[in-house]
Symmetry: C2
Subunit: 410 residues, 2 copies
């Protein structure tokens, strides 16, 4: 008997049949005696349909009206799921973001949650009802409808769990948990029973797109135990919690993340004076291009080489901007590579283990893979390599850090 917040995404509620399946699962949880708050997204395809209607009218619809429009998607789902529960004899009541009163700032289409009034939900829970809440949406202090941006339903679920001090926030999705790496690349990839918030953030931002990173950060901040499970299969999923060293034999590395959507740009022979990094990167960010890794080395004769990575789609634009910058700074040349990949090892265990980097570089070297860039943080090491070696590198690292096998196996 626990208080659980369960979140089902667009694919899990994409058809009436699937909504019925979600209702079956929620009804089982209720029969086991749990108090349940269920957060749902719009039926898959619905948000895009609504955005399509808006774009038929104008290219850049006003954000306030966009929120009024797309928030109807989740409102449809909460009504249908509540009906499906009632049909099963489970008392349920739906809430829009405004009805809960999920108070946000007024940054339409990307609002941030400021406060949650849990009183109405608490009343329903005490009366034995399942509370069904529209994800992704809230209301500002003037009563305007706001949305949290794409994927914001995960954030809604975590925020409700924090406000209600729920025992667990369960995110149901189309995978059955967080894996040591992508099982499509490495046969021996295995589901992790547990992972820390920090590791999950590094894994998510590096391309293992199971959870919205913002939701994980939120869960970490308020210490809400977060579990990723499959909507379609049974299983315990992966629990994401605070780092609790007493609790587990800490592996050095928890997982291998990777990203093949990157491109690399280098501006060489830049005069090494204060502010040169700013003068290179500001025009890039002014062009709305996001920069991922940045590496700078001091070279000979007071000149330096400056390298960074961007999303592959931004490569050509970034290169044009950079060539303009190079001529302004009297840099020697601009070079780049649109066919690179990033591979990272992630694990809180590396904090207390020396030689992790060495082991990584050795594994890659053994396979004859050249490392083009290196970047490190406290719990991850990322390298950029030629894209064609990506799968080989991931498999080599997965094996070198002994991620296969029965350790932590479910």
């Amino acid at each position: 008997m626990a208080l659980l917040v369960q979140k089902f995404g667009g694919t899990s509620v994409g058809t009436i049949e699937r909504i019925n399946a979600v209702a079956d699962r929620v009804a089982r949880g209720r029969a086991e005696g749990h108090d349940l708050v269920v957060v749902v997204s719009a039926m898959s395809g619905e948000t895009n349909r609504l955005i399509g209607l808006a774009n038929e009218i104008m290219d850049e619809p006003t954000p306030r009206e966009m929120d009024v429009l797309v928030s109807t998607g989740e409102q449809v789902t909460i009504a249908l799921l509540s009906m499906a529960l009632q049909k099963r004899g489970v008392d349920a009541r739906s809430y829009t973001g405004s009805q809960v009163r999920i108070l946000t700032d007024n940054a339409h289409t990307k609002a941030r949650i400021q406060q949650i009034d849990e009183q109405n939900m608490r009343g329903d829970l005490n009366a034995g009802r399942v509370v069904v809440v529209a994800g992704f949406q809230g209301v500002d202090e003037y009563g305007n409808i706001t949305t949290l941006g794409r994927g914001g339903s995960d954030t809604t679920a975590v925020a409700l769990a924090a406000a209600l001090k729920a025992d667990e926030c369960q995110i149901y999705t189309d995978v059955d948990g967080v894996y040591t790496t992508d099982p499509r690349v490495v046969d021996g990839a295995r589901r992790l029973d547990k992972i820390t918030f920090e590791e999950m953030i590094e894994m998510a931002s590096l391309g293992s797109k199971v959870l919205q990173i913002r939701a994980v950060e939120f869960a970490g901040k308020y210490n809400v135990p977060l579990r990723v499970l499959s909507s379609f299969d049974e299983g315990e999923g992966t629990l994401i919690t605070l780092d609790d060293e007493a609790d587990m034999e800490q592996p050095v590395v928890s997982g291998i993340a990777f990203n093949r959507d990157e491109a690399k740009l280098t501006i060489s022979g830049v005069p090494d004076t204060p502010g040169s990094a700013l003068r290179i990167l500001k025009p890039i960010s002014d062009a709305n291009i996001e920069v991922d890794m940045i590496v700078q080395n001091v070279g000979a004769d007071n000149r330096t080489d400056f390298t960074f990575t961007v999303h592959r789609n931004d490569y050509k634009r970034a290169r044009t901007v950079l060539e303009q910058v190079a001529s302004e700074l009297s840099a020697r040349e601009v070079s780049g590579d649109g066919r690179i990949a990033k591979v990272s090892i992630v694990g809180v265990g590396m904090r207390s283990h020396a030689g992790v980097a060495t082991r990584m570089f050795e594994a890659l070297s053994n396979e004859g893979i050249n490392i083009e860039m290196i970047s490190t943080s406290e719990i991850k090491i990322s390298v950029v390599i030629d894209e064609k070696y990506l799968e080989l590198a991931v498999r080599a690292l997965h094996s070198a850090f002994e991620l296969q096998g029965p350790v932590n196996e479910a």
Copy 2:
């Protein structure tokens, strides 16, 4: 420069193209300097699509969740129309029923408006904005979403006009006004420039389904001038106002209404004792069958004949119920006719003109049409006739009361 409430129904906003056309029209009104509140329905087909989803889940969805579901239809339209106005440089802001605060009772799916907070709308109007309101929906005192029932958008428009003391409430629809009778039946039918609330109610309830009768009653009660116009053509439409004899040469009869969906039932030789009408009609109403006309005559030997009409779809069920009643009351027999039609003449002018009924009966008699039932009110006379004479009767009456011709022509 007037304050106008304009309502556009589902057909008028049924596609993006039509929403753009509505935006053009509203923008013109704004350019003329009017203050505008625009009420819209769901895009045509949308409400039925949503009801279809609910019915896939359960046969009788809970009314509260039904309201959460179907109210999304108008919410989509207010957002899209506001965008279309903004695209035209017209400042506009959308409101759901809950955001206006259209307070209703909690009779989900058929709620009644109790109070309207006009403060927010007034603020936007003062700031030069067009206010776009979702029709058909409101909110109860606990924040639950309610709907007013089918066609309730007309009621929303009238209620807003009353609350804002608007100069006129304009209902845009797919006809260009109220006609003396159905132009498909009588070539010479003409649009009325003016009609009274009372006449409009009789016309509407008798089958000229231009406006929701409830909206007309509401407009009459609060004396809101109501105008019916075409969304697709230009024109002045028909103005529905209080009876103002000084203002116009009152015609005796304003229009001919008719209804071919009726059936007639007679129970003969009922003992003429107090309460017999109740004993006949209560079982009918208990079976959820609505009764329209009722006629009773005292016959010979303290027995009476009792005749009433019902919707043709209810004829068989009503007959079964009535045969049961007949045996309980020891009535002589039950007879009926499923192929009748009702024709009515309507006009506030008949109050002050004698001989209107005579003129009606004479016109029908001249065509050899037998009258099977007669029912009268202060401003209308209805007769039931054999269905096959319906068109003939309507044309004869339209001509007898001189409804053709240039009088009142636009």
